[in-house]
Subunit: 446 residues, 2 copies
């Protein structure tokens, strides 16, 4: 069987059975269709039979990064709400300006965010936003992979929920299988229990999972306990959400008792960890080590660019490692290999794609990134894993392959027109930044 | 008087009297000799008389960044000591491998670090290391600005101290005034009081300041209190160091009583804050807000790349802002304007260059960086200050001017041969990484 795509002469990042990441220098990666067929020592080009050959010139090949929680089109609001409390962030800035959004805005915002992510080696995103037909169209056109959810609040009514379920059916397996769709109720504090139960009923009928914000910070957990005597994670259990695939965003307010509860559902529950947002909004940190200990998959996310202010998962990786050491007061915590394992395999598991994404191995989907660590800021290269976690820049990503297709080659985008997208977004930015008093999509009062 | 260098059509970042940073769009910056002469609204090129014109095409002009504490040649050891305690970091990794260093290694390491810093818009570095004749030669050849100190331990004896003082005289005002030299005893825990007093005597005779590590983490302060009943900052006072210009590295172990003590010397004392190292080595954080309140200048530093693992001061800036919000549990703490003020004016004051560096204003030294915020990760550009703190990448720096000379233009280095430097360093990396049991330059036992 001839190779459809061959990556020639890369150093392939692989994980040993001892959990240590190493690179296989001078290797070729053979892709058949949209999957990795083999990794072999480099052969002369003349000996190879491949439809497309990507010359790596010794660059590092890694699995594509996965952004396990984002609101990608919020790049439209990047930098609009700085240095404010969470309450003001929602009520005075974000929810007012989101009332300006149109379907077309979301399409362009999604494209802009996909440009940013592809340029940074992010090949899959779990997105949670509005006007998701347009978001899905942008993903399809970009050639990216995504787990999409259409965000919904109980205040919108059951008709809106039904519409998001219809959208789930409409786009499931879209873009040649690159798009998966889940349900996406916003959060326990914006969706009452009956609404969550109705969501679960749709999810079981459609055989899909649920992507939801929960216990975003300790204050939300305290508020839930004060108002109704149970934590947000207990709400997820009592409404049946945890019985199926679940992706929990943030969880900085997860208590030790919640960890024990989640352990019972660990085979199909993931938590998206977005440390830059947590530092910036002073939300505390997800208890990722206890959750890992309970068997819960931990993935890396960006959250929206209105808080992050980027969609750079390399930065999430670095901040995760740094903050774990800092808060544990122990520099031996979260070694580089454990951090890389969360970025690659943990993130894949968190979005229900364990065994499909997150490794360079035969049978895995061919989402592959080539990285040039030859820049001054990475040299000399005593440790490739350390460079990936602590010194590389997103701009060191040179080439991005998704589903076996070359989406960016030597930093030239193949599917998206960056200049046109940036120009289009610039035209709408002033309209989108308008804040009309009293006009907002929700009120934040968890 | 004709303009020697003119930056045409930039957006110049300036600080208002209210402390808010704004940009002056469509402005020209006129440089006479090595200083900024004027900022004026953009004129047509035909109307301008300048020896050299740099076309900014609307890019953002900022003051060059200042790295107020580094061990630049330690880029040679980047990635060599990951995920280990401070004790093991010094005793098992860094101080053993530093025994391999030769003067020539330092020359090449300094050049490599200067490439990295110039590419990231760092125009001045306060460096603290060994073989500083070669470091100074590299700075001179690179066209960079530096405040250099030759690190010395009491165990080396007074002859070594005298030699560093002779070096201070030899290089003071070197490279056409771009190099200033200070004395650089390593730390109170490696230099006894008599040695520090002898250093002070040299400093007074030479009319220079002292750059020293002190109270690097809470454990060092606790150890000093246990062993001798006073803090490391009190040692600096009692030995007379604080009577003259002083640059204190780190200070994560500075106590409230130390802050009150330092307030008495605030006119000439600065503290270098290097948050990435503190997170990675779990050192706590410098109490920068109390120190600012006491009038002590706070600057941003990288520390060495063996802990950081880069020399990227934009990352130090971002981590400073994020960690201040996180540890204060208040997202309103350290707003972007306050963070930028530390990066620019604070850092200048910390190295004794207030009024000379850190602002784009007439009379200031012409250390200027041009930044392209047009990339997808910064767009749309609702807030330039927010982009500088939270979304830009070091690679967005396009052009670097130091002392009125173009050192990098559109990412092409003018003074350093990057490929040759990286190749040279690669040849020595295995030799430098050797750890011979028992062979180390010091023992860490603060």
């Amino acid at each position: 069987m001839p190779t459809d795509l061959l990556i020639h002469n890369c150093s392939a990042l692989v994980r040993g059975d001892d959990g240590v990441y190493t690179t296989l220098p001078h290797h070729d990666i053979h892709v058949h269709g949209n999957r990795i067929a083999a990794l072999t020592p480099t052969q002369p080009l003349a000996a190879l039979d491949a439809h497309t050959i990507v010359e790596a010139n010794g660059q590092i090949a890694t699995p594509g990064l996965i952004n396990t929680h984002a609101h990608v089109p919020m790049v439209l609001f990047r930098g609009i709400a700085e240095d404010v409390s969470v309450d003001r962030w929602f009520n005075e800035f974000i929810w007012p300006v989101e009332s300006n959004l149109t379907a077309e805005d979301v399409y362009w915002g999604m494209q802009l965010g996909l440009v940013e992510m592809i340029e940074a080696g992010v090949t899959t995103v779990a997105d949670h936003y509005f006007f998701m037909d347009e978001a899905a169209r942008a993903v399809s056109e970009a050639g990216a992979r995504a787990l999409l959810g259409w965000a919904v609040f109980a205040s919108q009514g059951y008709g809106a929920l039904d519409a998001t379920a219809a959208w789930v059916e409409r786009w499931q397996g879209g873009a040649g299988g690159r798009i998966r769709t889940w349900l996406a109720p916003h959060a326990p504090y914006t969706c009452d229990d009956d609404f969550l139960r109705a969501t679960v009923a749709h999810a079981r009928r459609l055989d899909v999972g649920i992507h939801i914000h929960a216990a975003e910070d300790p204050a939300q957990t305290a508020s839930s306990l004060a108002k109704r005597g149970i934590t947000p994670i207990q709400v997820l259990e009592q409404t049946g959400i945890l019985d199926g695939p679940t992706l929990i965003a943030h969880g900085c307010g997860i208590l030790p008792t919640d960890v024990a509860l989640l352990a019972q559902y660990s085979g199909h529950v993931g938590v998206a960890h977005c440390p830059k947002t947590y530092l910036k909004l002073a939300s505390g940190l997800t208890p990722i080590l206890p959750l890992q200990g309970a068997g819960v998959a931990i993935g890396l996310g960006s959250d929206g660019a209105a808080s992050n202010n980027t969609l750079n998962i390399w930065e999430s990786l670095r901040l995760m490692a740094l903050t774990q050491k800092f808060t544990a007061n122990d520099p031996e915590v979260m070694p580089v290999h454990a951090a890389l394992d969360i970025a690659f395999r943990g993130s894949a598991a968190a979005i229900g794609m364990a065994g499909q994404l997150g490794e360079l191995a035969p049978g895995y989907l061919a989402d592959i990134v080539l990285i040039d660590l030859g820049g001054a800021h990475n040299q000399p290269l005593h440790s490739i894993p350390a460079a990936l976690v602590y010194s590389m820049a997103a701009t060191d990503v040179r080439t991005v392959i998704i589903d076996g297709k070359v989406i960016m080659q030597e930093r030239q985008l193949r599917t998206l027109d960056k200049a046109a997208i940036i120009a289009q977004v610039a035209r709408s930015m002033n309209r989108l930044a308008q804040r009309v008093p009293g006009q907002r999509i929700q009120v934040y009062n968890p």
